[in-house]
């Protein structure tokens, strides 16, 4: 693609930028610059009151300018070389202004195209269903993924990780990690075939913590160039050789790239104002450095690991609006609820985030990463179906209506978050032979859908 021609220039910046100690970057450069742009561009999310999906276009535009200014002044940091990777405003704007407004992934009849969306856009978001890195035992791995792949509303699947491989412990940057990457490819592809969707795009290589598994499992016979390959940016705005190795491989093989940056509420970026600025800046830097096709920023709470707290949600909403109004970037929202399968709270959290994302102009939805993605096997395909149904029903909804609905949903679960209702594991909510939800989980799903209909959501 035309934006990937700058690979050598990006790699050069990691070798030639000014040398800075990492502690200086974390302790002073990032927080000080965020505070400076926050003040300069007057970013105060408290001004929107209790609103979670604000309707303030001027605020969204100032937030975009603040994120762009931060990208220009701060750049990114390469941990391997201790160098700042800096860019001029024009160098940053050029790729943003030519970024494609759509990207296709998946193969043959299962190909899907993700499109740029606007705020309150009636077009459907792309649905990328899956457990997003949640660890799953090896014997359940195929079945869990088939439970997602069989859901027709899912446009792509985002894989879980494996607890063990061939019964052995998986160790980072070892042959076991390479074997796990391959096992992920074999089993998720088998799951898609069994579900009748052999060309479904797979979010991969989820088990590739390091570069070795990505490079190996995305070679001949493994994941294809038409799957969507993940490259992370380390918080805050950091990369290293391992990640740049992945990037270089993916660029030279012409693969679809999805990159993400997961900032932490209360971390170096501070509270919700800094987090909103960081989300915008993060997406800009992901485009700048990783030449990525789709972008996501999944902030998390430092004690709950979720993104469904109102203070995080409002930052996500305004940042998505800022990017929707001012850029061509294809941005996704990851849903990371505290609740797990078999609980109503998981569905309330998922619905709130899906409605927020739809009204705020996000292009795709990823997840849900149920039980915050930390409890083994606490994921199932049903919550992804629910996420898709709500997202599609919310397409075209005004921010005002979305805000009202989201606030009502948040009120239902907010006080339960710190109790961490992780719910039940996959075998406790699905029949492992028929791969259908068990009656109690199906009943909860039907009940919450009914509640949402009564709240005014146009669910079928």
């Amino acid at each position: 693609m035309k934006q990937t021609t700058r690979l050598l220039d990006i790699l050069d910046r990691a070798e030639n930028g000014p040398i800075v100690e990492e502690s200086q970057w974390d302790m002073f450069l990032v927080p000080d610059e965020i505070e400076r742009v926050r003040s300069e561009f007057d970013i105060h999310l408290d001004d929107v009151g209790d609103s979670i999906v604000p309707q303030d276009d001027a605020l969204a535009d100032r937030l975009f300018d603040a994120g762009l200014a931060l990208a220009e002044r701060l750049g990114a940091y390469c941990v391997s070389t201790s160098r700042r990777m800096q860019f001029t405003r024009n160098e940053i704007l050029n790729p943003i202004n030519v970024a494609p407004l759509s990207i296709s992934f998946g193969e043959d009849l299962d190909q899907h195209t993700e499109h740029k969306r606007a705020i309150e856009d009636p077009a459907h978001m792309t649905i990328k269903g899956g457990g997003v890195g949640t660890p799953v035992p090896e014997d359940l791995y195929l079945l869990v993924h088939q439970s997602y792949a069989q859901e027709p509303l899912i446009d792509a699947m985002i894989n879980c990780t494996m607890e063990r491989v061939y019964g052995r412990e998986i160790r980072s940057r070892s042959p076991w990690e390479i074997l796990t990457g391959w096992h992920e490819a074999e089993l998720t592809k088998a799951a898609c075939k069994r579900a009748g969707r052999p060309g479904l795009a797979l979010g991969c290589v989820e088990n590739a913590v390091s570069d070795v598994a990505e490079l190996s499992a995305s070679s001949y016979g493994g994941f294809s160039r038409r799957d969507w390959h993940h490259v992370a940016m380390i918080s805050e705005f950091k990369t290293d050789y391992m990640l740049l190795n992945k990037l270089t491989h993916l660029v030279r093989t012409g693969s679809v790239i999805h990159s993400f940056y997961n900032t932490i509420y209360g971390g170096s970026v501070g509270g919700k104002d800094g987090m909103a600025i960081a989300i915008v800046c993060g997406c800009i830097m992901l485009q700048m450095i990783y030449m990525t096709n789709t972008h996501s920023v999944s902030p998390s709470h430092p004690f709950l690991d979720n993104d469904t707290c109102p203070e995080i949600m409002v930052a996500i909403s305004v940042a998505q609006q800022a990017l929707a109004r001012n850029s061509r970037l294809l941005t996704d929202v990851v849903i990371t609820p505290v609740g797990g399968p078999g609980t109503k709270i998981l569905l309330y959290e998922t619905a709130a985030m899906a409605i927020l994302a739809a009204a705020s102009g996000a292009c795709g939805l990823i997840g849900p990463r149920s039980a915050a993605g930390t409890v083994p096997a606490h994921v199932s395909g049903l919550e992804a179906r629910f996420m898709a149904e709500v997202a599609h029903a919310a397409a075209g909804m005004s921010r005002n209506d979305a805000d009202s609905l989201v606030r009502r949903l948040v009120a239902k679960y907010k006080d339960q978050l710190d109790k961490k209702p992780i719910g039940k594991s996959f075998p406790e909510v699905y029949d492992l032979v028929t791969l259908k939800p068990l009656p109690h989980w199906q009943a909860i799903y039907e009940e919450v859908k009914q509640e949402l209909k009564q709240m005014g959501l146009n669910l079928t």
Binding site: D26, M27, F28, V30, P31, V79, P135, T161, E163, E169, I170, R171, S172, R173, S174, W176, E177, T180, N207, V209, S210, I234, S235, E236, D240, M242, I264, Y265, G266, G267, S268, G270, G271, G274, P302, F303, D305, A372, G373, T374
Partner: protein
């Protein structure tokens, strides 16, 4: 000497301002000024530094203060200790009030460090002496550092499942070296559970930064 309540409040306020400004120099100047006026180092630590840092830790646990302030608190206090308090204490052969020395790092293969940084800083602001080995630390390096620093606790963190086995390696290696009883082990990180910590024979587990501090307090009996 005992200091007046007003004086204590003023010094605490000045230290808080130095932390907010991220100015080690201001912190050092404040400590020197207080010692010139007759405070002894242990008094300055217990009456001024500890209450300010505990307040900072409490505010962070309620998310009223954020990581940068915590980092600056750790940086300013470390500078005050190293440049002002410890040299005098060493001269007087006295003991500085520390709750214990902790070696901390993210396990081999994992480059994530924000969670680990939060724990390190919360430990520091709660009176522990902390040596941060950074990210992707091998089991050998954890042990060598613990021996070198004469640490009390080895604290290991990871955000990713494939780095968890390296926690087990540290304990196995300590066993094989006959050093298991010399160091307490605490583990944490998103995929790490209390059950896993028990299974590998760790002495403590912290689900988050606040719990990690409490676990270390219990291990040290402070």
């Amino acid at each position: 000497m005992s200091i007046s309540k007003d004086m204590k409040t003023e010094y605490q306020k000045q230290l808080h301002l130095a932390i907010q400004a991220g100015s080690a120099d201001k912190g050092i100047e404040l400590a020197r000024n207080a010692l010139d006026k007759g405070l002894v180092p242990v008094e300055f630590f217990e009456e001024i530094i500890q209450p300010v840092l505990e307040d900072l830790g409490d505010r962070f646990s309620r998310l009223e203060a954020f990581l940068p302030e915590l980092m600056r608190g750790g940086m300013v206090v470390k500078a005050v200790q190293e440049k002002v308090l410890e040299p005098i204490i060493h001269e007087q052969s006295d003991e500085m009030a520390s709750r214990g020395k902790i070696i901390i790092g993210t396990c081999q293969g994992d480059i994530h460090d924000i969670g680990k940084n939060m724990v390190a800083l919360m430990l520091q602001v709660n009176g522990f002496s902390v040596v941060d080995l950074g990210t992707s630390v091998s089991s050998r390096d954890f042990i060598e550092a613990a021996k070198r620093e004469n640490a009390d606790i080895i604290a290991m963190s990871t955000l990713i499942t494939p780095s968890m086995p390296f926690m087990k390696d540290v304990i196995a290696r300590l066993d094989s070296l006959g050093l298991r009883d010399r160091f307490k082990i605490i583990t944490g990180g998103a995929p790490v559970t209390r059950e896993w910590a028990n299974e590998i024979g760790a002495d403590g587990f912290g689900e988050d930064a606040v719990e990690a501090v409490e676990a270390c307090r219990q291990l040290m009996g402070v």
